[in-house]
């Protein structure tokens, strides 16, 4: 029996789901040979409440969404967070950082205080998440990799080393050498350092590695001329929420 797969979206741009469809026809056929997609708002109209694997996209930003994602967890055997918003909170979390002292505390990871509205949070702040398809937007190849791993019943091999490794594999000149800054040393690889390859720097969309040396990274950013505020801004864009809420 083919596993039934459903996609659900919460607060996000849905760019992640759209990306999932961006497969070669041949691969799509292979994919559909392996799984049954029973709920995919972007492509199907009928909905089924019977599914084995749930892909959750977007971050959780309302009480209603908390209830909904909990229901999904009850239903599904496996829950996969899809995209930066679902995996780490993502851009939505920007609203969480209001006054400076607050931001500081978030970056320093000691404590979390929230305002009266419910702060944006990643799926795993509410429910147990089994796998993550990281990135903003996540790469099709990685989504496929996770699906394949699920079908083969093995752990998807998503690296726990930082972007620098893939950046060096790509033979890039480190952006620090050009006087720019980059979060590559603490951000989980897996994207093949696309941003640096294309002349930019890593802004952290895939979240932190398991044991990031945040202190050292901050020192380095300061050494390269960023002020304390700018250092915090760097971290804020993507990857602080998960650290705080976990």
């Amino acid at each position: 029996m083919k596993p039934k797969v459903a996609f659900f979206d919460f607060t996000g741009c849905e760019g992640c789901q759209l990306d999932a469809l961006n497969l070669e026809a041949e691969d799509l056929i292979d994919l559909l040979n392996g799984i049954d997609i029973v709920n995919f708002r972007e492509v199907m109209t009928e909905k089924a409440d019977n599914y084995d694997i749930a892909f959750v996209e977007g971050s959780i930003t309302t009480e209603g969404e908390i209830e909904r994602v909990k229901k999904i967890r009850e239903q599904a055997k496996i829950v996969v967070a899809l995209g930066a918003c679902a995996c780490i909170g993502g851009i939505n979390c920007l609203k969480n950082h209001v006054p400076m002292e607050e931001a500081l505390r978030i970056v320093y990871g000691k404590d979390a205080h929230y305002y009266n509205t419910i702060p944006a949070r990643p799926a795993d702040a509410v429910i147990k998440v089994d796998y993550y398809v990281r990135g903003c937007p996540p790469a099709t190849s990685e989504l496929v990799k996770v699906i394949k791993a699920l079908l083969l019943n093995k752990k998807p091999d998503i690296p726990n080393y930082p972007v620098c490794v893939e950046c060096k594999m790509a033979g890039n000149i480190c952006v620090y050498e050009k006087g720019q800054t980059c979060l590559g040393p603490v951000i989980r690889a897996g994207c093949n350092a696309v941003c640096i390859n294309s002349g930019r720097y890593c802004w952290g969309c895939r979240g932190l590695v398991d044991e990031p040396n945040i202190e050292s990274q901050k020192d380095i950013l300061t050494k390269y001329g960023l002020t304390a505020e700018q250092v915090i801004e760097k971290f804020k864009i993507y990857d602080t929420c998960s650290e705080v809420l976990k």
Binding site: Y161, P162, M169, I173, P185, E215, S216, I220
Partner: protein, 777 residues
């Protein structure tokens, strides 16, 4: 094609032209002259391998010319043509040093034999002149006859060679990119940078690509597995000797022990054209690792000597390439001299070096396994793996499977991995055998300096310096690690020497005799004494350490060493006459003998200061100890960032070492400010307390290290001021004066809580002092 150069001097046009045509047809670069006159001008302008000269009967002029030619370019081999071989002229020519003569009418076979013999002898000369280690050469010469020879090739001809190669094969070379250099495929000679310093990533990626399929498989009933060995034949152009040495290590690892078919296929289809590194990168320490030159490991090796290159053949394949694709010639003597010169200059351009011979590295590592160094140095390690990813000698990899969406077809591939990454030593159960940063950091250094050497007979580091420039935390350099650990061991040995009772029990209190070499009056109450140990030994101190000076019968007094250890065997003590010993000392003249014990104490933390901005603050005779550090820092100026010196005195007349103050004031390398509390007439400088000077300096809180020596009251206010500027406690060092007697941690006079100032001090960081309740500031 061989294009060695020949100069023909022959007045008979028929003989001249036919000789010329014949030599040209065999590939020589020929220049003709009608008569001996004017030859000197030609030879002054350009060099030749061989000169062939017609010498007539009573050819006095021609002999003179021969002599002159010999004087300008002694290496040119001359052959004379003569109709009168028995005559005195020929005898005279032989004395001048011709290689041989041919009798007219010329027998071409004869001449050809002579020319070939001459060329052989030039080869031999060259081999001896060009080789760095001639012993290595002579043995390889026998192994591969006919190769290992050096030629010269013009830049144009080199370009031609590359263009020719490009027609038939892929050529990878060094290109400039965003102010750095990278290896990349080239499409023309013009893209190459042969005078680069270092590339961002090493050429070894063309032998061990970042990802490579090893097997393809299909998981149906009869599991099909096929090996995949893919390679592109290519020439790598412009590999520096240290990278060639790294490739030799990889060859050892992948070709001789459990041979790796993928590596071997790629290696055998890779031609390596090396180039001498004449403009080393600031982070390179290749000479310390013995990798700045190489005699092996390349097919061809170039040395850029200006207008042309010396090109050395390393393998038969190299010789074939040269013969097939290039026009080359024998190097002239002038070119050989130039090669020696450019290599010598290159050697002098290296900035970094090991403090110890490299064969001591394994032992030093072995003795340092449990050192706190690993822990403290790796605190800032990001585990980012950059150091191992850019290293030419790193070759660790991971092997993984990837399966297609049909879940049947798949491949097994390998990709780069490295011991600095968190999960490198993690096993399935979740246990990680190298859990903490320190153990990973240590492991890498042990690989570089010990493990690989023990297994493969070659050090695992070739000194390219790539890791240190790739490491954002600034900690990855093996050179720095090896030197620090060696230093550590040296200090420890020194310390054990002091406390070892058996050997030194009776010695610890006995001073060594020292002679006063000179005495200079500094101020009314202060003099500086230049001393030398009578044993002739160097005192062996660090800036900030002190000695105990005794005048037998009067007593002993602790005195800081005022001079830098880098300035020879003598040392200086600057002393204020204040009591018994010091006034007795003041009464002594050059030639007198005093007793010296020490050096004692810790001195300033030189390692912690390296690479930092320094702010050095002295009050009054606090300059006595601080001067030693200041001299040391100016002697190794390139090891430090900005250097600021602040000096405060009560009155202008109390300023010491005024000649040196003047030097610092005028130095472009140093920022020097001074002030006095109470000015006198004629004083045009600053007036006021020293804390005012601190306002004048820019302090980069992250980078600045501060050393302060002065009276206690000064410490109080200076520290307050520095704290206002957010300088962290750990960056502030003070030298404390305490009452001292033994200098060796026995007498207890100098104790502050649990600490002996003479042992753990007299220099302390403010962090340390804050934990000492007795050290009221």
């Amino acid at each position: 094609m061989n294009e060695s150069s020949v100069l023909i001097i022959e007045s008979d046009p028929i003989v001249r032209d036919s000789l010329c045509e014949w030599l040209k047809s065999t590939g020589f670069d020929v220049t003709c002259a009608e008569s001996a006159e004017g030859i000197v001008k030609i030879v002054e302008k350009r060099d030749f391998n061989i000169a062939i000269m017609d010498v007539r009967l009573h050819g006095e002029t021609q002999l003179a010319i021969l002599r002159e030619m010999k004087a300008i370019r002694p290496w040119i081999k001359s052959i004379i043509i003569t109709a009168y071989p028995q005559e005195e002229t020929v005898l005279e020519a032989k004395k001048i040093g011709i290689v041989d003569y041919v009798v007219k009418p010329i027998d071409l076979d004869d001449l050809q034999r002579i020319i070939h013999g001459t060329i052989e002898s030039i080869y031999k000369d060259n081999i001896n002149a060009i080789n760095i280690e001639s012993s290595v050469e002579s043995s390889t010469e026998d192994l591969i006859p006919g190769i290992k020879k050096s030629f010269a090739i013009s830049r144009d001809n080199l370009a031609l060679m590359v263009e020719n190669l490009l027609k038939e094969t892929e050529v990878v070379g060094v290109k400039a990119k965003q102010g750095k250099y990278v290896y990349d495929k080239i499409s023309g000679f013009y893209e190459l940078s042969l005078d680069y310093d270092v590339t961002v990533s090493p050429p070894t990626r063309y032998l061990l690509p970042e990802r490579e399929t090893l097997l393809k498989f299909r998981t149906d009933n009869n599991h099909r597995i096929e090996p995949v060995i893919k390679y592109t034949p290519r020439v790598i152009m412009g590999v520096h000797p240290y990278d060639i040495k790294a490739i030799e290590l990889l060859d050892e690892v992948f070709m001789t022990h459990n041979p790796d078919p993928n590596y071997i296929a790629r290696r055998e289809n890779t031609v390596i054209i090396g180039v001498d590194c004449l403009r080393p990168s600031p982070g390179s320490f290749a000479p310390s690792m013995g990798t700045n030159w190489t005699e092996t490991g390349f097919d061809l090796l170039l040395t850029d000597i200006g207008n042309s290159y010396i090109i050395k053949i390393g393998t038969e394949r190299g010789a074939e390439i040269l013969a097939k694709y290039a026009k080359y010639r024998l190097p002239t003597g002038d070119e050989i001299v130039r090669q020696k010169k450019v290599r010598g200059e290159a050697l002098s351009r290296y900035k970094l070096a090991l403090d110890i011979p490299r064969d001591r590295i394994p032992k030093i590592l072995e003795d340092s396994y449990d050192e706190p160094y690993w822990e403290s140095r790796s605190i800032s390690c990001l585990s980012c793996g950059s150091c191992v990813m850019v290293c030419p000698t790193c070759y660790c990899f991971d092997v993984r499977d990837e399966i297609a969406l049909n879940l049947k077809d798949g491949e097994r591939f390998r990709c780069w991995d490295g011991c600095m990454l968190v999960d490198f030593a993690k096993v399935a159960s979740g246990e990680n055998f190298r859990r903490d940063k320190a153990s990973r950091f240590r492991h890498r250094m042990f690989r570089k300096g010990k493990y690989i050497l023990e297994r493969y007979g070659k050090l695992g580091c070739v000194g390219c310096g790539r890791c240190s420039s790739a490491c954002l935390a600034g900690i990855a350099s093996p050179l720095e690690a090896f030197n620090s650990l060696a230093d550590n061991i040296r200090l420890k040995e020194a310390a054990t020497r002091v406390v070892q009772p058996a050997k030194q029990e009776q010695d610890i209190y006995i001073p060594e005799m020292a002679e006063i070499l000179s005495v200079r009056q500094l101020t009314e109450k202060e003099k500086v004494f230049e001393l030398k140990l009578k044993s002739g030994k160097q005192l062996g101190h660090y800036p900030g350490q002190f000695v105990s000076l005794s005048i037998m019968g009067v007593g002993e007094a602790p005195l800081s060493i005022s001079s830098s250890p880098l300035r020879g065997k003598n040392f200086e003590l600057a002393v204020r006459s204040i009591g018994d010993v010091t006034s007795a000392l003041h009464a002594l003249k050059a030639g007198a003998t005093v007793g010296i014990r020490g050096p004692f104490g810790n001195g300033f933390p030189l390692k912690a200061f390296e690479g930092r901005d320094l702010l050095l603050i002295a009050g009054g005779i606090g300059l006595f100890p601080l001067r030693s550090l200041i001299q040391y820092v100016t002697d190794r100026r390139y090891d430090y960032g900005k250097v600021n010196i602040l000096y405060g005195c009560r009155a202008p007349a109390e300023r010491v070492f005024t000649d040196e103050l003047e030097l610092w004031k005028n130095s472009k390398d140093i920022d020097y400010h001074e002030t006095v509390d109470r000015p006198c007439e004629g004083w045009t400088g600053n007036v006021g307390v020293i804390t005012n000077l601190i306002d004048k300096v820019e302090i980069d809180v992250k980078k600045t290290m501060v050393a302060i020596v002065g009276p206690p009251i000064m410490y109080k206010f200076v520290i307050e001021k520095l704290k206002k500027r957010d300088v962290p406690d750990a960056h502030i060092y003070l030298s404390l004066e305490r009452r001292m007697k033994c200098g060796i941690g026995k007498c207890g006079h100098c104790q502050i809580n649990s600490i002996y100032t003479c042992q753990e001090g007299p220099v302390f960081s403010l962090t340390q002092l804050r934990s000492l309740r007795e050290a009221v500031l």
